[in-house]
């Protein structure tokens, strides 16, 4: 029990508004998350990820079911839950009228961090998030990217056992994003559990120890990356770069009925489901009598799995 951070049982959240039919944003989800991992919550827009996070962070009460953080019920004891979590919500949330420095210190005050400790942590995070030059500027005068830095930096002011991140990397440059990802990994080594949502699947692929894919509020797939790849066995990515894009190539690709395709310049990227031998035959057919600059074939990425599972809406795996 102590090693389980999050337990969700038959969770349902229905939004009702006058004159409209009710929307089941979360529809009977059940799962648990062990301590000290990065748990990814994936799904297309409107899948119910943010609603689920809002329930778990005590912002919204579920219509049915239960959710417990470290064994504490989010509905019955919301304050106890809040004492154990910190969160970065989807919108860029910062105190616009306060300086960067005051944003960090005010947050620390809410989290009951002693003043000297708060100052020392703030100083360290200001350097880590490259905010030194902006430290006395009001957040309303900063760009969206810098505001996001301030928002994400805040959650590292505290050592709550659970950290919720909703699309945390939005607006971050790649270098900072890499830095934050490393930091998140280090936090799990200290025993913190991180629950994140992201639309950037490569990010989830790299970061998450365990992934839950949801769509229309329901579970579509669950497991670590290798378990999810098993669900999509036979899905392959093919990348071909020609010296000149053949005229008939669009029709040839359409006939293969790929899961997805992308033509960019002289390159074609397609994802299709076929046994390995057949994939090689397809590559041979597409490249026959054509000048090829680059060929790449590999197994399914998380993005392929995601697209396949969410577009074909498989029922609980």
């Amino acid at each position: 029990m102590a090693d389980v951070t999050l337990e969700v049982e038959n969770l349902v959240k229905v939004y009702s508004s006058r004159g409209k039919s009710p929307v089941r944003a979360v529809d009977g989800l059940s799962f648990s998350v062990p301590r000290g991992i990065i748990f990814g919550l994936l799904g297309p827009n409107g899948a119910g990820k943010s609603t689920l996070l809002r329930v778990l962070t005590t912002l919204t009460r579920p219509t049915e079911g239960t959710a417990r953080i470290l064994g504490i019920d989010v509905v019955k004891k919301p304050l106890e839950v809040r004492r154990r979590i910190s969160s970065v919500i989807q919108e860029t949330a910062a105190e616009l009228l306060l300086s960067v420095h005051d944003n960090l210190l005010t947050y620390a005050r809410f989290q009951n961090i002693p003043r000297a400790e708060a100052h020392s942590r703030a100083e360290s995070l200001i350097d880590e998030f490259q905010l030194r030059a902006e430290v006395e500027r009001k957040v309303q005068d900063l760009s969206g990217g810098f505001r996001r830095r301030v928002q994400v930096a805040k959650v590292f002011m505290v050592n709550t056992p659970v950290l919720f991140l909703d699309e945390f990397s939005t607006g971050m440059d790649p270098i900072l994003k890499r830095q934050v990802m490393n930091r998140l990994r280090a936090e799990t080594e200290k025993g913190r559990t991180i629950i994140l949502t992201t639309q950037i699947l490569s990010e989830a692929e790299e970061l998450c120890d365990d992934i839950l894919i949801i769509n229309k509020g329901r579970q579509i797939a669950r497991g670590d990356l290798s378990a999810l790849k098993l669900l999509s066995q036979g899905v392959h990515d093919i990348l071909l770069t020609f010296d000149r894009l053949p005229d008939s190539i669009a029709a040839e690709i359409a006939a293969l009925q790929p899961i997805r395709q992308n033509v960019s310049g002289n390159s074609i990227e397609l994802t299709l489901k076929a046994v390995e031998g057949r994939v090689m035959e397809i590559v041979t057919e597409l490249t026959r009598n054509r000048r090829i600059l680059h060929v790449e074939v590999h197994g399914a990425s998380l993005e392929d799995i995601f697209v396949e599972l969410t577009t074909h809406q498989k029922e609980p795996a």
């Binding site: 939004y15 809002r54 962070t57 005590t58 912002l59 919204t60 304050l79 809040r82 004492r83 979590i85 910190s86 969160s87 970065v88 919500i89 919108e91 860029t92 949330a93 910062a94 105190e95 616009l96 009228l97 306060l98 300086s99 005051d102 005010t106 005050r109 809410f110 989290q111 009951n112 009001k138 928002q151 919720f164």
Partner: protein, 251 residues
């Protein structure tokens, strides 16, 4: 307790870094007294039906209540600002209860209201020559504190119940007009038509003004002022409970 002090700290930081807020919170009602009050006093002198009190003295309690009302209205508008900044929902995940969040905001605003009242009383006494009943100051502070809290909770209900700040602005404009003018803020109620008097006595700001008028210049009947104060306290408690409920329903 730490959650309350954190909310007070946050409010103080935000207000202290913004000159506009300081102006509205501390100086606006004071200017009202100095410009409007002095003008009416010069033009009309004593208010009708009340002997031994000039208009500056009569209007002082109105200015104090106006400060309560304005501070409460401005603070409740900050819910929209926080919502637009996204920080509102993030704050609701901080380790504090919904009532601590509201009470923290109120504590800060009560401090501002009391400070504003002190400034107003000093100016009224030393610049306008108003005879202040300094020995009733504790009673006046209670009136400012409960008044500001009650109005803030009242406004918070509307600020938390609507997502559109244009709707909220329209509501507050109507409230300003109805509450302030249908009360004993600007004129004594005695000479007014019966329907107006009934409306004014049903208006919570009249209860607060009567309390403040009694405690600042000794005008009024202690028993009826006490009753009005008790009813205002009930009004504030009901508004607080409803505002907490509205905050709990934020999704």
């Amino acid at each position: 307790m730490s959650a309350l002090s954190a909310v007070v700290y946050r409010e103080a930081k935000i207000r202290a870094t913004n000159v506009t807020f300081i102006f509205w919170d501390l100086l606006f009602p004071l200017l009202y007294m100095l410009v409007f009050g002095v003008g009416v006093n010069a033009a009309l002198g004593a208010p009708a039906g009340i002997s031994g009190v000039n208009y500056n003295e009569f209007f002082l309690a109105g200015v104090l209540a106006m400060a309560s009302f304005a501070i409460a209205s401005n603070t409740s508008w900050s819910f929209f600002l926080d919502r637009d900044n996204g920080i509102f929902y993030e704050m609701l995940t901080y380790p504090m209860s919904r009532s601590e969040y509201l009470l923290g905001k109120v504590i800060f605003n009560v401090l501002i209201a009391v400070l504003q009242a002190a400034l107003t009383l000093i100016v009224a006494s030393f610049v306008l020559g108003v005879r202040i009943h300094w020995n009733a100051m504790p009673m006046l502070i209670v009136g400012m504190a409960i008044g500001t809290a009650g109005w803030f909770f009242f406004y918070a209900i509307f600020a938390l119940s609507t997502r559109r700040n244009d709707v909220f602005n329209a509501v507050t404009s109507i409230f300003y007009f109805v509450f302030m003018f249908a009360s004993s803020m600007f004129y004594p109620l005695g000479p007014l038509p019966r329907w107006f008097r009934i409306t004014a006595y049903a208006n919570p700001i009249t209860w607060q003004i009567d309390w403040l008028r009694y405690s600042s210049i000794g005008l009024g009947n202690f028993r009826s002022v006490l009753l009005e104060g008790a009813v205002f306290l009930v009004f504030s408690i009901v508004c607080f409970a409803y505002a907490v409920r509205c905050l709990q329903q934020q999704e």
